[in-house]
């Protein structure tokens, strides 16, 4: 059973988690340390952590950056919703993922893209449509329709590192910037980050496929934002929507973070000589053999495992460097199949050694697939070379004629006797 842990008693119900079969445990920072422990006796107590840490000054030791990272390293998922006054330990935690939250007390401000009804005049309630559009995998998982309602956001922004495991799924609009808003002060400094540089929501998938979502706004997940109609834009070009896109967006994020979307799994790989059925030979590959390789991949849609459809799964045959890199083609799915099979037939290079058949399928948003098999490839055995070469026939003829000649000569030499014919001498 999946267990879920949240820090603050908040509007989880709207994410319909219980309905989806999770067991929820709510805790506050002041709870007993035993109850906050994420890992007990080397084992995760929870599968997922929803950490709504926008107000607490300080989080208990049980939830400091090290513990949380250990939790992620053990395969746990974290959905982090912060705010402009996020605790220092959460900032440290995010930093390790390449997510750098802006200064404490700052907000993302957009004078041209704020939401009119909820905003208090500081223009910190943004309505943004800058959802992930590329690569295609991210757009598929997080991008909305082109006409989808904007997502409302109020909180802190972040910039992110070039780590390929980190993906931006919601950015600020081109006119947004980040600045401190503590005493409604005048912004007289160059803003730390502006425009698209500013991230609002980023997702991270670790090497062990644990997922972490960073959101600088807790309000994004609130009922209030879910239900509100949206009116945004500068004076002349305002746009209106009956309902914000928050619900749809938050659900996508939650599903992804809780491993209900974009989850891939390798059922198995198989490789054999292409002519294994007809030609019997001892095990193992020989140089220049034709090899059929197939990999079976399934995708989880939140309920069932289903075939995963793609045309870009590639196989590498590596020995120090890739010798073969080829695209696998998807086989026609069987009826009621729960997975899809990608396969190809290729020729091994004319080099012996230990090759690695490796499928690395890294599409942001989807589980990383890295499946490697070591396969020794041997050279020809001494009796596998062609025995008689047509070009060598002159030599065969030469050798055998010498042998025959020698035998004949010996015979003649041994058994021939000159008849004594002195008459012939003259």
């Amino acid at each position: 059973m999946l267990r879920l842990f949240t820090l603050k008693r908040l509007l989880i119900a709207s994410l319909a988690l219980i309905y989806r079969g999770f067991t929820l445990t709510y805790e506050t920072p002041r709870a007993n340390a035993d109850r906050l422990r994420l890992i007990d006796l080397g084992k995760r107590r929870f599968d997922h952590v929803l950490l709504f840490a926008d107000q607490a000054k300080k989080l208990p030791t049980e939830l400091n950056a090290h513990r949380l990272i250990n939790f992620v390293n053990e395969g746990g998922n974290v959905l982090l919703a912060a705010g402009s006054t996020l605790p220092e330990s959460v900032r440290n935690f995010a930093t390790q993922f390449g997510v750098f939250f802006e200064e404490r007390g700052s907000h993302v401000i957009d004078h041209f893209g704020f939401e009119h009804t909820l905003d208090t005049g500081r223009h910190t309630v943004l309505a943004t449509t800058e959802r992930a559009t590329k690569p295609a995998s991210l757009a598929h998982l997080f991008g909305g329709e082109p006409t989808a309602a904007p997502v409302l956001y109020q909180g802190i922004g972040h910039v992110s590192s070039a780590n390929p495991m980190l993906s931006r799924v919601l950015s600020a609009g081109p006119t947004a910037y980040s600045a401190e808003t503590v005493d409604s002060q005048v912004v007289d400094e160059e803003p730390a980050a502006t425009g698209h540089e500013l991230g609002l929501v980023s997702v991270f998938q670790a090497r062990n496929n644990a997922r972490v979502t960073f959101s600088g706004s807790r309000a994004l997940f609130s009922d209030k934002y879910f239900a509100t109609p949206v009116k945004y834009g500068a004076d002349k070009s305002t746009k209106e929507f009956p309902q914000s896109g928050n619900k749809e967006f938050a659900e996508r994020i939650a599903k992804w973070t809780l491993q209900e979307a974009g989850v891939l799994r390798v059922i198995g790989t198989h490789h054999e000589r292409a002519d294994a059925a007809t030609v019997k030979r001892d095990g193992g590959y020989r140089v220049k053999d034709n090899v059929t390789f197939s990999i079976e991949i399934a995708e989880f849609d939140g309920q069932d495992w289903k075939p995963y459809n793609a045309d870009d799964v590639q196989l590498e045959v590596i020995m120090l460097d890739p010798y073969v890199r080829t695209t696998l083609s998807q086989e026609a799915p069987r009826k009621d199949a729960t997975s899809s099979v990608f396969s190809t037939t290729f020729q091994l290079p004319d080099t012996f050694g230990v090759f690695t058949f490796r499928v690395r399928y890294n599409r942001p948003g989807y589980s990383w697939i890295d499946d490697a098999r070591e396969v020794p490839v041997r050279p020809f055995r001494h009796d596998e070379f062609p025995r008689f070469l047509s070009v060598a026939y002159p030599y065969y003829t030469g050798a055998s004629s010498v042998m025959v000649g020698f035998a004949v000569f010996s015979f003649v030499w041994l058994y021939h006797r000159d008849p004594a014919t002195p008459a012939k001498r003259k």
Binding site: V72, S161, P164, M319, G353, R381
Partner: protein, 735 residues
């Protein structure tokens, strides 16, 4: 014995003496087994042992085609085609026959005792050679010398299961048969010599010496005008059959027709045919015209053949001399061009003391023996002289080639001593009694007794004067008997003290004289076997590759079969680079564990830091990012203490060697007992590896490579975070 005639008694004594010599040769090589245990020594023997085990467990066919994917990962090695299988086949044949006879002997013991057994046989072969050259008296002496000479024992103690252990026997056997063939002019002996040569080729790469020496012998005979039908028959048979046979060994393949090393033999073969043909022509022509024809045809033929060889070499049909051969002519060549050859200690030029150490009194008897060969010149003596001259040169160039010098030294010394004894021990005509005495002298020398009673037993009839009287004879004989006794004593001492250490087990003595065995290597290799995954890849410097494969049964990146310089340089690159770069290199090689040898605690001088400059040089040859000069301290010295250069202190090898060493000592007093110097007190931080094992005396240290960080951070950053340091804000992605 009473019923036997004098001849039979002599023969019996001779056989008894020879058997005694063979037994002594066998027994004096057993020090290591008695002192330690029946274990395979050093490095290369572990590979031979491993392959022999494979051969015994599988069959010859799969051995022949064995592709070993566990060495030289990921390149693999075609073992069957890149080794000389003679040793393994001999051992497994011995093992099989013992099992057929009902002796359930372990293959390890067969391997351990192979070299001593063949040393006994080598003594017999040397006896035969010397007998061909002089007589059986000299033969017995030579057999005794080769039986105990340290120059040969160094490569053939029990446990030293290596090619050389049996190849010297094969070489002497081939020489014997060759001399026999030249002497008799019989095609039969030429053929048998070719078979012995084939056996030698199947065992040791040193056969190249043989296939150059024999043509040289023939060539010298031609130049000396000693060419005869005997030589023609012997050489033609030997070369034709021997070459065809040798080409059956996969590792040799077409080399006899395609490499410069073998061209001399082929050229002489052609020359011999021409000369034989010319002689045939001579028998049908007037002698005046013949002279011109001879000179003309031989000269033109020689020039043409040489030009053809040069042309073929330039076109690449014939491979030029290999680097190893150049280094025989120019001792500085390897150091400049092929550091991997120069890095091996046994490829260094020989120092005088080591020649004396290996041969002792034989060093001085050797020229005397060669001189005696000059005195009475015949075909065999020419051979001995040539062998002596070439082997002396090679032994001076490379330490390991003292091994090929030793047999001829023994033969020559046998001739010299027997000449002296013939002169000073002989009284009256019955020559056999002298032989008897030689035999008894040999035996008494074995027993270590310096007395020689035989000399003064027979009273002389008429008293000669001067050096001919029996007193002066007695003095000379006594001096020689004493020298021989001293020689045997020296040999035994050298064998026991220098050449009987298995080198995988070290011995030291506690102050109260008890022996303390240091068994770190086996301890660590066993740890690897028990605690690492079956397919784990171990990276170490190539010296330890065979041992890891043999004892731990794990995949290694490089090993002692140094066939791929680039791959070794890659390992050198990893060892000489700072951690992040090294990590990158090791990930590419799929390394799981790194094993280093660190002698700092115990004072074990054969450790990796002492070999490190060679790693740097080899790496530098392929990867210019490594520069040897960077590893020297500011004053140009190779240091490991606080004055060591930054490159040195950052490189992986340094870190792995000294990691946590300072924790063993009081603050600031970490001490390296090999380099006799302080080690920096600052803690060494490793971020890409974990120390997983360090042996009892810190000789072997094993580190496990960390997986790449789960969060994609550089491992140094991850380690810094573990230590609570803030990560610097960098690599900001711009949108």
């Amino acid at each position: 014995m009473l019923s036997l005639g004098t001849d039979d008694q002599t023969r019996l004594l001779r056989v008894a003496a020879l058997t005694g010599v063979a037994l002594v040769a066998f027994a004096s090589r057993l020090f290591s087994v008695i002192r330690y245990e029946s274990v395979i020594h050093e490095f290369d023997p572990w590979f031979n042992y491993r392959t022999t085990r494979y051969l015994v467990e599988h069959d010859l066919d799969s051995f022949w085609n064995w592709f070993d994917e566990r060495s030289w990962y990921p390149l693999g090695r075609i073992v069957g085609g890149t080794l000389y299988p003679g040793l393994m086949i001999t051992a497994s044949a011995l093992w099989n026959s013992l099992h057929a006879l009902g002796f359930p002997v372990d293959i390890r013991n067969v391997c351990v005792f192979m070299a001593p057994i063949f040393s006994g046989l080598c003594a017999v072969a040397t006896y035969l050679v010397t007998k061909e050259v002089k007589d059986s008296r000299a033969g017995l002496l030579a057999a005794l010398f080769i039986g105990v000479a340290p120059g040969y024992i160094s490569r053939s103690v029990a446990g030293s299961y290596d090619y050389e252990g049996i190849a010297i026997f094969q070489m002497m056997l081939t020489f014997y048969l060759w001399l026999k063939a030249v002497k008799t002019g019989s095609a039969f002996f030429g053929g048998v010599a070719a078979i012995a040569y084939f056996y030698m080729v199947s065992t040791w790469g040193g056969y190249v010496f043989l296939i150059n020496l024999i043509p040289l012998h023939v060539f010298a005979l031609i130049l000396m005008g000693r060419f005869s039908n005997r030589v023609y028959v012997a050489y033609s048979t030997f070369y034709a059959i021997g070459t065809l046979y040798s080409m059956q060994i996969p590792f040799v393949g077409f080399q006899p027709s395609r490499t410069s090393e073998h061209m001399a033999a082929m050229g002489i073969f052609g020359l011999v045919q021409i000369i034989a043909f010319v002689q045939l022509v001579r028998s049908h022509m007037a002698s005046k015209q013949f002279q011109t024809l001879l000179l003309g045809s031989v000269g033109v033929g020689f020039v043409l053949a040489f030009a053809a060889l040069v042309f073929l070499t330039m076109r690449g049909y014939v491979a030029p001399w290999t680097g190893r051969f150049y280094s025989l002519w120019d001792t500085g060549y390897a150091k400049k061009h092929i550091p991997i050859i120069a890095s091996v200690s046994e490829h260094q030029p020989t120092a005088w003391p080591s020649i004396f150490f290996d041969l002792q009194v034989l060093t001085f008897l050797f020229p005397a023996g060669v001189y005696f060969c000059f005195r009475k010149l015949n075909d065999e003596h020419v051979f001995i002289m040539l062998y002596a001259a070439t082997a002396s040169y090679f032994a001076g160039v490379m330490i390991r080639l003292v091994l090929t010098l030793t047999p001829i030294v023994c033969v020559a010394a046998g001739i010299a001593v027997s000449n002296i004894l013939d002169t000073y021990l002989k009284h009256s005509p019955p020559a056999d009694s002298a032989a008897e005495k030689v035999a008894s002298d040999a035996k008494s020398a074995v027993a270590g007794s310096s007395s020689d009673k035989a000399a003064d037993k027979q009273p002389a009839k008429d008293k000669p004067t001067g050096v001919r009287n029996s007193e002066s004879k007695l003095v000379v004989v006594a001096v020689f008997a004493y020298m021989m006794a001293l020689f045997v004593w020296h040999c035994t001492w050298v064998t026991s003290n220098s050449y009987s250490s298995p080198s995988i087990v070290l011995a030291s003595y506690t102050p109260d004289g008890r022996q303390h065995i240091i068994d770190d290597f086996r301890e660590a290799y066993f740890w690897l076997q028990e605690n690492t995954a079956e397919d784990a890849k171990i990276m170490s410097w190539w010296d330890y590759g065979y041992q890891i494969a043999g004892m731990s049964n794990r995949t290694v990146i490089v090993d002692n079969n140094t066939w791929n310089n680039t791959h070794i340089a890659t390992v050198g690159l990893a060892m000489a680079s700072p951690e992040p770069r090294a990590y990158e290199v090791m990930r590419k090689l799929d390394v799981d564990y790194v094993l280093v040898i660190a002698g700092a605690v115990l004072g074990y001088s054969g450790d990796d830091i002492n070999k490190f400059l060679w790693m740097v040089r080899i790496a530098q040859g392929v990867y210019p990012e490594i520069q040897e000069t960077d590893f020297y301290a500011a004053n140009g010295q190779y240091r490991v203490d606080d004055t060591a250069s930054k490159t040195m202190r950052d490189c992986l090898m340094y870190k792995l060697t000294y990691y946590r060493l300072n924790e063993m000592y009081p603050d600031g007093n970490a001490w390296d007992r090999v380099r006799q110097t302080h080690v920096p007190a600052k803690n060494i931080k490793l971020s890409t590896m974990d120390e997983v094992y360090t042996s009892e005396n810190w000789i072997v240290r094993i580190y496990k490579l960390k997986q790449p960080d789960n969060l994609g951070r550089p491992l140094t950053d991850a380690a810094a975070f573990e230590e609570n340091r803030r990560r610097k804000r960098k690599h900001v992605k711009k949108y």
